[in-house]
Symmetry: C2
Subunit: 149 residues, 2 copies
């Protein structure tokens, strides 16, 4: 996908379980959906630029499991995993998300692709099991968590 995106907006209200990330892309929603569900496309953009990306598992269906691994230049591995709730579609993707380095801390992610003229607004809501978990994600650097390169 051409790098036609505009600014990213991150909203995290104080004392909330939620982080909302929105970003507008000059691309149709079908293409954005594909970029989130086709493993070959996903590997091209997900995660920090300096890490390599390996998709271990990516079952795009209700109950399907997904798992990917980021590796740094020293070989350190950062694994992430979850499951899809419902069948992913252009109307939205609902999935769980867990960093294997902090097992047992899970969040619920909801991605939507909203057409706005010839652009698409991608909205990602993450709901954490506790406000402390949410705050920890912000402190660890939400950019590193891998929303977009």
């Amino acid at each position: 996908m051409a790098r036609t995106e505009t600014r990213t907006e991150i909203v995290a209200e104080p004392n909330s379980h939620q982080i909302i990330v929105t970003r507008e892309f000059a691309a149709p929603r079908e293409l954005l959906f594909r970029a989130h569900t086709d493993p070959e496309l996903l590997a091209q953009w997900l995660g920090p630029r300096e890490l390599t990306m390996e998709i271990d598992q990516f079952e795009v269906r209700n109950g399907g499991r997904w798992r990917y691994i980021h590796r740094d230049a020293n070989g350190a591995e950062y694994g992430f995993r979850g499951v899809f709730h419902g069948d992913p579609s252009v109307d939205g993707i609902i999935q769980t998300f867990e960093f294997e380095g902090m097992p047992g801390h899970v969040c619920l992610e909801t991605l939507t692709f909203e057409e706005r003229g010839d652009k698409t607004v991608l909205r990602g809501s993450s709901i954490f099991q506790s406000v402390a978990d949410r705050d920890g994600m912000i402190e660890s650097g939400i950019r590193e968590r891998g929303f977009w390169k």
Copy 2:
């Protein structure tokens, strides 16, 4: 299981995504875990007493799907569904939860079984996608949602 439970405590802070329900049972945690993962046991206690319970699907594993239906005396059906995140164990169950009557409104549930002497404290945390969804669940009557008969 004998009806040896004590009081139920429900905590829902204002302006929060979360509901926490705790209840102490005079039973070992392994038995409580079985009551949550063995469909035959589950059907005996889950949901309002005046409704019948049919378990349509119950795959107790990472990515496993679950679905059950409550029916009232007039034949009206109330379906619920979700998926398990991770393998359910006595250390905890993490699952998504959706009422089919309000599709697209999903919450993340975390159940734990904490031994306290010869008793077990069952703790259920539900995190909703929005505070409005959480408030709606409370207003609709959390007892009817089916935590315990």
